[in-house]
Symmetry: D2
Subunit: 277 residues, 4 copies
């Protein structure tokens, strides 16, 4: 279905022609300033998450990402520190003041995750987990809803509608790459989705170039491209030692790479009439 | 990832070279006989489900399908009768003796669903809902795990591994069409998946030509093709009045169409050295 | 575009509701009998093509395939014997009586190819080489037009319309697998395309399970599935020594495998009310 | 195949680590400055092409695009003015001084096209028309080789290798959108391809956001994103009256829209350390 044919009275642009600003931990997403959210794929240990939090803050990130509950294709892969990981994120927030984004995989963990998260993420694999969408829809927590790997934009807008219908209007959308025939990248980053979503919904739209490519050296260029395409924010994986990362090390920037990228990202933001938050 | 590279010690073919037979309500899936599971997409009312159950039984189906909890892209679409739908399925089973397959969308509904289902279905949108996979893995109920819309066969095998790792070896796989660029059908039925899965796992593999095409008149031909490709069973949508169906009417066979299709399906089964259960 | 929306006054089913039978070298394609076309991917040498021609004939094939002009992704791959390959095909035809199908890659080779071919093939990569379609449209030679790797069925029907508009109504369509996200097979064989094409065009539709999978052991099952889906014929790669083949050896059947497959294919044909030609 | 595994001794980056600059009609593509090529999809009449040429020149375009030979899915669509269209392009070049890019669909037209074109385009549908690639490889004319609709980057690099192997090193690559499951846009623009190609080949890489989206209002944002991603140039469709265009009007910018877009494109170029040519 073409996104133009979707019936989404709550998530559709016409509901709020001026756009929605989502506020989380003092940060505004969807306003004129572009918000960079950065941090490790998974929380691994205290040193790793604390050093990453400090580094991304120093480089200009305004929120910290980090997974405590990690969906993994294989049951034999590292699937996160769970409650202990949430505690480490809370500690990083306490020290750095950065609000935290972390994923919730199951409605039964929601209360626990909300206790330490400023934004709860619903991951790509759960974009059409409708009972989870309904649960976060009943909460008063900002939700970062990632696009499914092969979700059409129409389906994506309707997934957001599930959340809004529950009464929670604080939803951030995130393009994170789609599945195509191309084997050289993990996913194909669909930046046209940013423009198309911005036209058809009032919700903020951010981009995850780390999952969108799966290739660390591509991330800075794709982050710049995302901002040029109109994204309201970026979600970037950063790790102190990518080669030792327990998950997705191949797509993580080092602290230095992230810091260097932020300079160009800021310049591109300025070129399109915006600035970094 | 190529399916040949997958590490799946429990779901991989080598774990049980002779193949697994899943037993549900007296029916064996994965043995020499091909099992046809049929019924409406969604349970709508008593008359609808009872008449469908009788009709599909008379035509040779050995199990009844019907959705009580229905995942729907839009929150404004009919999403099933839920508990009341389960009760109607239980009634249809009591009268016809057909074991029942129905979907579970949320771990919190599992007990309720298991009380009336002989096989619980994990739908395409939940193929990588790992906490749900773990929950059904802890149960002793046969699981029908549908392939995700854009899941690679490697990911699919690993999703089954999640269930088996929990201790539940009674898993049936189901190819139900994948997402491609072709707009003339709802999905593209991937019958090569049947051959590939049969080689790489010992689990039974069935095919859903109704979702696989989304087009009722294509279903009989695709059902025959699925059997010729080596499927252990079929999952077919049948409705007394497809044009009045509350969901997916365009892909449902009438009772007469289903009955006619069963004759050809049986002939093809015989041609490849099998028979209908 | 949905195939139902296509304007194809010549190729559309309504132009010849009863269907078209293409006649080539005494063989009829599109009638009640199913035609198996078999032989090597590429013509390599006299012994190879002669032995393959004899073997496939003995097993029941009614036409010989073999490439003299081979499109190859890399300019460093074997690209066929060209004129010498055509001469070998002519010799194989003379000895076995099997009509020959071979590819034409360029309008400037058309006369030369037609001199030895009973059917000229326009390959997947040239499905929208419109000047080539127009040239074969002006000839009086049967054309085997393969579906492009990512051609929609609407585009495919229109490609046939290009040929028919030139005055040549002797066109055979061939589903040969489409490009998807799945890495375990070379292509994803789209058997729903057979049913959909048969409804929307009067032209014969055959299936190439060799390219459709790229995996030799999958070919017999997929050939049976194609016949069950309604195909009018099969295009199968056979090689005396697949491991020594100069191209696509991984998808070629040995003589013994081909012969064994023909038995099951014949049984499936009979199950759906047809027979092998 | 992953692009890292490709054997392309001529097109691969290692052959010319410093990168190739293609020179056409006094314009350099592949150097520090970004070249914008603009003009109508198809040449329709003198007034249309002349006014477009003047307008795009005034707005900062350095080359003129326009199709005289147009590949069209349907044989009933407008397929270009052919020789008359070439003559009009020559006139536009004479008046404005803009070098001309136009498509060649058939090796037999090559001499005629080269007589009026500074760059000959090989279109997406011909990316694997290997005899055409060989012919342009024998010429001394710059070639704009567009990516096939579902070509992997590995195949694309090898297609360029076909041209270079013939002796013609003046090849420009062009990402123009790939085919995915998303129906809301004509194609999915793959800007990751720009970064990936720039790393693996020394050839200049440009982007066509007009075909890449099929949606005029998306073109300015996607053009900016392409530049931010590292593109060496842009190919943009511009038409005096898009609603009256004989082909692809839905993706053409008006003169005013193009002029406005150029301002932002220039700012983004500057942000990433480049400038418009």
């Amino acid at each position: 279905m073409n996104i133009e044919a979707v019936v989404a009275p709550l998530a559709g642009r016409q509901a709020r022609p001026g756009g929605t600003i989502v506020r989380a931990g003092g940060v505004e997403i969807g306003g004129p300033a572009i918000v960079v959210i950065a941090g490790p794929c998974a929380v691994e240990d205290e040193e790793q998450v604390m050093s990453a939090a400090r580094a991304v803050k120093a480089a200009g990130a305004r929120m910290l990402r980090g997974g405590a509950y990690k969906p993994r294709a294989s049951p034999y892969s590292f699937s996160g520190l769970k409650a202990a990981g949430l505690a480490l994120l809370a500690r990083a927030r306490a020290e750095t003041g950065l609000p935290v984004v972390t994923e919730v995989m199951d409605a039964r963990h929601l209360e626990q995750v909300m206790a330490c998260a400023d934004v709860v993420q619903v991951g790509s694999r759960n974009m059409q987990n409708f009972t989870l969408l309904e649960e976060v829809g009943r909460c008063r927590v900002p939700v970062l809803l990632k696009r499914g790997m092969s979700a059409t934009l129409a389906e994506y807008l309707l997934a957001a509608e599930h959340v809004l219908k529950g009464g929670n209007g604080q939803v951030i959308l995130c393009e994170r790459g789609i599945r195509t025939f191309e084997p050289s990248t993990r996913n194909t980053l669909d930046l046209g989705a940013v423009a198309m979503l911005k036209r058809h919904t009032h919700l903020p739209v951010i981009v995850d170039p780390s999952h969108g490519t799966g290739v660390a050296w591509m991330v800075p260029a794709m982050a710049c491209a995302a901002v040029a395409a109109g994204a309201d924010g970026l979600l970037i994986e950063v790790h102190g030692h990518p080669t030792r990362a327990l998950s997705d090390g191949g797509q993580a920037l080092t602290f230095e790479q992230f810091s260097a990228a932020m300079t160009t990202i800021a310049a591109v933001a300025s070129a399109v009439g915006r600035r970094l938050a």
